[in-house]
């Protein structure tokens, strides 16, 4: 039930999970984020929304509870299709764990939208960490708005890990990510 605005302004989020803050800054506008909750966006499961995208990128675990049962579902199983999740009608999302990436990794959550604050036409979240030998040791690539649910592109991550980061490598990973999706046409964009 935490409000998006509180996460956006949280010093500990800014310190340990800045990509979450960057993602939330692209959700609607201040007055929307003052009321919008993180859990609400996660279970609404809009395929273009930023928070489900991060949940997929960061292997979030959803803790669900009904009057009888508590259970936990990983993000990859939680999102099942367009606005469709694993949550049952009598269940509530009570907590979400985001797995923290390595502290020194780089990150970016960016999107193409018609206006600031709109739902993304395409959204991308990437986290990259390098080892001592300066090759990529940690990679997370996820895309939103290009399918019925946010998608983590593990093939692109595999292509990145172990390689020296340069423009050519990033282009290759981007090509793999582009191959992995089959975006539907919508009113704003066609393929």
């Amino acid at each position: 039930m935490v409000r998006q605005r509180d996460v956006e302004r949280s010093p500990s989020v800014a310190e340990r999970l800045p990509i979450l803050r960057e993602a939330i800054e692209q959700v609607g506008h201040p007055a929307i984020r003052n009321r919008g909750t993180v859990g609400g966006s996660l279970v609404h499961a809009d395929p273009s929304a930023e928070l489900p995208l991060l949940a997929v990128a960061l292997d979030a675990t959803f803790h669900l509870r009904s009057a009888q049962v508590s259970r936990s579902v990983p993000a990859k199983d939680f999102y099942q299709g367009y606005l469709l999740t694993d949550i049952a009608p009598d269940e509530l999302l009570v907590a979400t764990d985001f797995h923290l990436p390595p502290a020194d990794c780089g990150w970016c959550c960016t999107e193409i939208a018609r206006r600031h604050g709109d739902f993304a036409i395409v959204a991308v979240a990437v986290l990259l960490g390098c080892g001592r030998d300066r090759s990529v040791s940690f990679a997370r690539v996820a895309v939103g708005g290009v399918g019925p649910a946010p998608l983590r592109v593990t093939a692109a991550e595999h292509a990145l890990v172990g390689e020296r980061p340069d423009a050519e490598l990033f282009r290759r990973a981007a090509d793999i990510a582009a191959q992995a999706v089959e975006p539907p046409a919508d009113i704003h964009a066609s393929v």
Partner: protein, 471 residues
């Protein structure tokens, strides 16, 4: 209908207790219509435009997205709690000094958003100012002057030296203070004792015969005063007079008569104790249609055998004219080059933040109407209304309140006629405020247009001669 609830909240510093609020009442309707705080405006009704922004426990929220019940026990601040005509808040003064408002419809929401921004960040960069007000749409100013006004209040701002006395200086307009502090003169801010509220059943078809309309259940619905259909409108009024005299005029009435001709065309009008009751009653009306093939593209409409939009006209061309100036043919003969091109412009709708509205009152003793309503050409519309209602223009007093933007689509006398007829039938004033869904479904659009250009040019003198067929 669910049971009514009572709530207590603090509004602009004073305790308010409301005894009987419908659980579905939105916070903005509660503030505007139950507490009379009409400075908070309704724009998009779905959280996008920011016109309804208020503070709830010190944070900006969209009052159109909240139920009044959600504010129970909270503290609400509206524009009326920010400053007064005599003592403007410094931000309101900056808005006035920088001419950061024109129609003023977005202004209250804009001011509350900017106040939150300045409270949380005393020295925002231009980029942060733009992000802070990004959720508030303004259709008049282009935002530049709004950013300037907010900038004037940031901690490090230095006052600009005035170098000119008049040029480039914003002057206080007589309406500024009211717009900045409380609004209160837009159509939905006006009310009359006993006013009823209208809603319309609209066509789901682009073209169809109306086979049967059953209004019995709506008439039995609690709170319904009057229901009117196209058949009755056709008996009570004459077809709308067009802007230009036509040889064969189409028969257009305030409500669809026998046929519907576009999706969203009003078919049945209802007046009830409040808008919610009118919409509930609208849901109880059953209309049977025989759908017919529509004609959608202008060029298709010109082809022989195309379905006729108005059968009584006998053609889809209502009006044809040419406006030649000078020797057109000779000019083309002399031209060095002649360019032929065809330009298609998509269907386009201008959408002011304030939707269309009207409030009509009928006085039976003198058979006259007082109408507060939107029109951008009152002198012309007065005669259109009088002709349709079959009365002298002197029997109509048409008052046009200030508008929250219009952009060409607030010329819709049919809706004024419908409200007038409903007021007469209901025996009480009737108000109709178009909701945003209706506005986006069936506002007055600029239809898809085709322009053919034929241009003869003389390169050296850069003169061109044009022939522009347009439809």
């Amino acid at each position: 209908m669910a049971e009514k609830i009572s709530l207590t909240l603090k509004v602009n510093g004073s305790e308010q207790a409301a005894a009987a609020v419908e659980p579905r009442r939105s916070l903005v309707d509660f503030l505007r219509h139950d507490l009379g705080l009409v400075g908070t405006h309704v724009g998009c009704e779905h959280g996008v435009c920011g016109a309804c922004t208020v503070m709830l426990d010190g944070r900006t929220v969209r009052s159109c997205l909240l139920f009044a019940a959600q504010a129970d026990g909270s503290e609400v601040t509206t524009i009326e709690g920010i400053g007064t005509d005599e003592a403007l808040h410094p931000l309101q003064l900056a808005f006035q000094q920088h001419h950061a408002l024109q129609c003023g419809f977005c202004t209250p929401g804009m001011i509350l958003a900017a106040l939150e921004l300045l409270r949380d960040n005393a020295d925002p960069s231009d980029e942060e100012i733009r992000a802070g007000i990004s959720g508030n749409l303004c259709m008049c100013t282009g935002y530049v002057n709004i950013v300037r006004a907010v900038r004037a209040l940031r901690a490090t701002e230095r006052r600009n030296e005035r170098t000119t006395k008049w040029v480039g200086q914003a002057l206080e307009r007589s309406e500024d203070r009211r717009l900045l502090t409380r609004g209160g003169h837009f159509i939905d801010d006006l009310t009359l004792p006993g006013v009823a509220h209208a809603a319309y059943v609209r066509s789901p078809h682009a073209r169809a015969e109306i086979r049967h309309i059953d209004v019995r259940r709506a008439l039995e619905h609690p709170g319904v005063y009057a229901v009117i259909t196209g058949d009755e409108v056709a008996q009570l009024t004459r077809p709308q007079r067009g802007r230009v005299p036509l040889a064969n005029s189409p028969k257009v009435y305030a409500l669809a008569y026998q046929q519907v001709r576009y999706v969203g065309e009003p078919v049945v009008g209802i007046a009830a104790v409040d808008r919610a009751a009118a919409e509930d009653a609208a849901d109880l009306i059953e209309v049977e249609y025989d759908p017919l093939p529509p004609v959608i593209e202008p060029e298709e409409a010109l082809k022989p055998g195309a379905p006729l939009v108005f059968e009584e006209v006998g053609s889809n061309v209502l009006w044809h004219n040419t406006f030649p100036y000078g020797d057109v043919e000779g000019a083309f003969k002399e031209a060095d080059t002649v360019v032929d091109e065809r330009v298609a412009i998509h269907r386009y709708c201008s959408t002011p933040l304030e939707t269309f509205g009207v409030m009509a009152q009928y006085e039976a003793a003198t058979q006259s109407y007082t109408i507060w309503g939107h029109t951008q050409q009152p002198a012309q519309d007065l005669h259109v209304l009088a002709a349709a209602l079959g009365i002298s223009p002197g029997k109509i007093r048409l008052i046009v309140p200030p508008m929250g933007g219009s952009f060409g689509n607030k010329v819709r006398p049919l809706f004024i006629i419908a409200a007038a007829l409903l007021a007469r039938k209901a025996g009480r004033p009737v108000k109709w405020i178009e909701d945003r869904r209706e506005n986006l479904l069936a506002l007055r659009p600029r239809g898809r247009r085709h322009h053919g250009h034929q241009r003869g040019g003389e390169d050296r003198r850069n003169h061109s001669r044009r022939q522009i067929p347009q439809y």
